[in-house]
Amino acid sequence: MENPIYNRKEMEEMLPDYVFGRLLPDEKEKFELSLSNYPDLSREVQEVRKVFSKLERLDFDNYLERKTRNIPIKVSEKLQQKRNPLNIFARPGFVSLVAGIGVILIAISIFFSKKDTKVIVQNLPSTTQIVKSSPEPIFPQLKDVDKFAEEASLDVSDFNTVVGSVFPGDYTSSFELASDYLDELVSRELVELVPSNTKFQSSIFDNRFFDLLNVLDEKDFQQLIEELKDVQI
């Protein structure tokens, strides 16, 4: 048996290039010389050549050309979209991005508005503080009671004893008595029931207390009312 120039593995690796005419002249010559030693490969060469000769009649470049004819235009359009920043608004993701940011902003604003309300409630001065800090008497008639107590040489405990019969509770001064009286008025929302001879210091209530009440939402206002209901008169 004649020694082949190429071994079987080399022959297999070169077979496609031989069939498709891509071997160099000297490679082709050696391949053909070796082929007689491998009848099965020789048959395979014939079969591959037969099949691919039919396939080579296909204009595969034309097939791809038909499939890709729109690509340059579409790429050009996409590039123009990218270059024009205004077109960002036309992108599908933009709407969902804006919507998402909107939802987050709304959630944050709701969260902080609740938090602000709580801070307001927590920092809300008590009516006792308001009454005490007032430069002018809020309820002149109570001032008169206080004055009356002083004139009558009653100390605070005596005063409390006197008024305690009318307003049950442990009051250390007439200011506390007055503030609790005010709390009760607010708690009942019965402003109209304030005695006709009671004079409000409107500047205090308008600017400090009721303004604060106005910023309370319904829930916090109701909570305040509930707390004030516990005040005993």
Binding site: K9, E12, E13, M14, L15, P16, V19, F20, E44, E47, V48, K50, V51, F52, K54, L55, L58, F60, D61, Y63, L64, E65, K67, T68, N70, I71, P72, K74, V75, S76, K78, L79, K82
Partner: protein
């Protein structure tokens, strides 16, 4: 523009023209020259015309954005091939993820059937069927065999170039090429004899 397109014969000329600022003209020639190659790479992976076309567009968008950084360490074709394969594989990963979600309907299944029609259709479509059958046969090959066959048979690339693209030894590529040709011949022989 057409004059320039004729003038830009080598890939170096395209890159240089791009660097000079003739972006639109260079981009046009760049896409025109490599669109079939990039599309066919994508088609071999995703096996669907619409998806392959979308991927090809994305490949060119990315390539044109990065062309100014291209270092010429490889050919433009090798560079484009890598981008196309990466994008195709990313696409397939996303598709697999979507397929895990049972309530998401995959509309492309019908389209896939349209891209690869049943060979028993009318004889009027024989030529088109033969083309589709060849693509189907190529797509049935293992990835390495499929790629080396396509790059060698259709693109006429040297084994050294393919070796750079696929990261496989030339010897391994030649073996894969032989097996690919043998399988395609076997599949197409049965089809042609029907």
């Amino acid at each position: 523009m057409y004059q320039l397109a004729i003038k830009l014969q080598s890939e170096n000329e395209i890159i240089e023209e791009f660097a000079k600022g003739n972006v639109e003209q260079a981009a046009n020639e760049f896409v025109r020259r490599y669109k079939n190659f990039v599309y066919f790479v994508a088609l071999r992976y995703v096996k669907n015309h619409d998806d392959a076309e979308d991927i090809a567009q994305d490949v060119f968008i990315e390539a044109l954005e990065k062309l100014k950084y291209f270092r010429k360490e490889s050919s433009l074709k090798t560079w484009l091939y890598r981008i196309a394969v990466n994008k195709s594989k990313n696409f397939l990963r996303k598709q697999r993820f979507v397929s895990l979600i049972p309530f998401v309907r995959r509309d492309d299944e019908d389209e896939r059937q349209m891209d690869f029609p049943d060979p028993t259709q009318s004889n009027r479509l024989e030529r088109k069927e033969l083309e589709e059958k060849l693509i189907e046969a190529i797509n049935s090959l293992p990835e390495k065999q499929r790629e080396v066959f396509s790059l060698r048979y259709f693109e006429n690339l040297s084994f050294n170039e393919i070796s750079t693209m696929l990261g496989t030894s030339v010897g391994g590529l030649k073996a894969n090429y032989f097996h690919a040709v043998r399988k395609i011949a076997s599949v197409m022989k049965h089809y042609l004899e029907e």
